[in-house]
């Protein structure tokens, strides 16, 4: 039903066609490099332009600016709330659905894609309308809604992570040794899901650190809202702040993927998953893994 975006693949299950595929790879380099060059130009030139605009001095000034500390602290707090809640809610649910209600996976995919297609601006005005007064005055409400926004990424990371190891056998073994469901989840499933949980975490943090729509309509000065408010005072510093946030998340994600694929290769599984989407019944396309 769905497949996996992986940086690595266990090459063991498709040994024969590898030589042919390699030959084809060598025969295609021209258009491939052309595409990648265009893409690199489109993505790197604006970064270069922004770096040039900001100048290196602005980077040293970011931290000291007024309200930067409180705005960044608020965003970090929201990121922690959203990440913890996302993991607590989504890990047991995803594992449960995978093991006990496999036919529900289509439904789960449909539900968890909704936050990408339902406009956040619509969602937040609805939330502000129905939220109880005790939540309305606090930024915690934002944290709760970010869990919803993070669902598409979190569910897909975790579901793909579950498919990267033989969870059924492990759970059966654990059960036959007398472990209950909580023990199995905590001591057997979660250690194997560590990489998937890490990438879910980074994607959630990236989302929270960049989310502007909901925060601005809820009137809280999170980091992205601060960048906007601040832009009027000092353009270069807010550009520098944006670039810093971008690079830090990117480096974090690179680290996780690199370390994750190294450790999973050691265990015999080669997949670090970032995102997967239902292929709508296009085919049973689990990568490299016999189902």
């Amino acid at each position: 039903m769905a497949a996996i975006a992986s940086t690595e693949q266990s090459g063991t299950s498709v040994p024969a066609p590898a030589a042919g595929a390699a030959a084809r790879r060598r025969s295609l380099p021209v258009w491939r490099w052309a595409i990648l060059l265009i893409a690199a130009a489109y993505f790197l030139i604006p970064l270069y332009a922004a770096l040039k605009f900001a100048g290196f001095k602005a980077f040293t000034q970011v931290v000291g600016y007024q309200d930067f500390g409180s705005a960044f602290a608020l965003s970090l707090r929201l990121a922690v709330i959203a990440t913890v809640l996302t993991l607590v809610l989504m890990v047991p649910t995803t594992v449960y659905v995978y093991l006990r209600l496999p036919r529900m996976r289509r439904v789960m995919e449909a539900i968890t894609i909704l936050p990408i297609v339902i406009p956040p601006i619509v969602l937040i005005i609805g939330v502000l309308k129905v939220a109880p007064g005790s939540l309305l005055g606090t930024p915690n409400l934002l944290g709760l809604e970010y869990v919803i926004l993070a669902m598409p990424f979190a569910y897909r990371s975790l579901d793909a992570g579950l498919r990267s190891f033989d969870v059924k056998t492990l759970v059966e073994a654990s059960n036959s040794l007398g472990a209950g469901w909580p023990t199995t989840l905590w001591r057997v499933v979660i250690p194997n899901l560590r990489t998937a949980m890490l990438s879910a975490t980074v994607l959630t943090v990236a989302l929270v650190l960049g989310e502007y729509t909901m925060a601005s309509l809820d009137n809280f000065q999170t980091f992205p809202v601060w960048i906007v408010n601040f832009e009027q005072n000092s353009g270069p510093v807010s550009v520098a702040a944006s670039l810093l946030a971008l690079f830090v998340t990117w480096i974090l994600l690179m680290l996780i993927v690199t370390v994750g694929s190294r450790s999973s290769r050691r265990r015999g599984f080669g997949q670090v998953t970032l995102f997967s989407v239902g292929a709508g019944g296009a085919g049973h396309t689990t990568v490299g893994e016999p189902e």
Binding site: G20, L36, V122, I125, K129, E172, L203, S242, L274
Partner: protein, 309 residues
């Protein structure tokens, strides 16, 4: 595989008797579904309830009486123009980045497993797909504004040719679409890669052994297999562009007529106080548009599935 796992994880279910009564069946069903209860409650409170509240609010006056006036206003005049521009912008920024993202994903897919380029592109996609709003607007202002870097390059190369004097602007729907692609292309790479991974090398081998060329392989094997996923990804990109608010708002200062911007203006009280219900009506219309697109997608996909058989 599904049944065996259920039995294995719940051995008591298999052991407790061959013919369970209807009552035990219901209880057992309730217990089985209770595992998704927290998730279901969370989604109901955080996603469904607000959406329903919007739908109800759309049909009320400020005094609370029932009305169709909000919907009527929302589908006429500037709001209709805004909706049309929004849909056009979303279609363009779904199809163009969709095709380009597919090409990038394919270039990455054919690269060697575990090479650095592949890793960089995939992680960058994860980060850039979440990039938007003011940071993105600032990037494009630094690049393509009247004093931007690329504007300067074009001037240098073409002897003082200033694109801004020849109809280009960053601050209308066309300019905004440039910026949208910055998060749409990475999103496409992320969502289409799994489908590409599903193309087995053996299929190409088989096609080539039977004498198929590259074109025939794509027309009769890879194309039909990829097509439903490709459509699904385009739908996702459409939704993502349609609901984007922060980038257009930041880039144009809220001057471009797009439905999310108009909702924001109504809800922030920038236009007139007391027009929240009109904002709800616009929100409801956005949800309806998305729903129509999703139904259309389902029908298309069913057609495609039949054609695939």
């Amino acid at each position: 595989m599904a049944d065996s796992s259920i039995q294995a994880v719940a051995p008591e279910a298999a052991a407790s008797g061959a013919t369970p009564g209807p009552a035990t069946k219901i209880i057992r069903g309730a217990i089985r579904w209770s595992g998704v209860l927290p998730f279901a409650v969370y989604v109901a409170l955080g996603l469904a309830l607000p959406t329903i509240a919007i739908a109800i609010g759309a049909f009320k006056t400020n005094a609370g009486a029932a009305t169709l006036g909000n919907i009527d206003t929302a589908v006429h005049g500037t709001y209709l123009t805004g909706l049309r521009t929004s849909i056009e912008l979303s279609v363009v920024t779904a199809i163009v980045p969709g095709i380009f993202g597919l090409l990038i994903a394919y270039a990455i897919h054919t690269a060697k497993r575990g090479n650095v380029l592949r890793r960089v592109v995939i992680t960058a996609s994860g980060v850039f797909a979440n990039f938007g709003g003011v940071p993105l607007a600032l990037l494009f202002i630094a690049t393509l504004s009247t004093t931007g870097v690329v504007t300067g390059w074009i001037k240098d190369i073409f002897g003082g040719f200033n694109i801004w004097n020849h109809g280009f602007t960053l601050f209308n729907a066309f300019g905004v679409s440039f910026a949208y692609m910055y998060f749409q292309i990475p999103l496409m790479v992320l969502v289409i890669l799994p489908a590409l991974e599903g193309l087995r090398p053996a299929w190409r081998e088989a096609a080539e052994n039977m004498g198929a060329g590259t074109w025939q392989y794509w027309r009769y094997v890879a194309g039909p297999v990829l097509f439903p996923s490709f459509l699904g990804c385009l739908l996702l990109l459409f939704g993502s562009a349609f609901s984007a608010y922060a980038t257009a708002e930041a880039l144009t200062g809220g001057t471009v007529a797009l439905t999310p911007i108009q909702i924001g203006a109504l809800l922030n009280g920038n236009v007139l106080a007391g027009q929240e219900n009109l904002g709800y009506a616009l929100g409801l219309i956005m949800v309806v548009v998305i729903a129509i697109v999703m139904v259309g997608y389902t029908i298309l996909q069913r057609r495609a599935a039949r054609w695939l058989r």
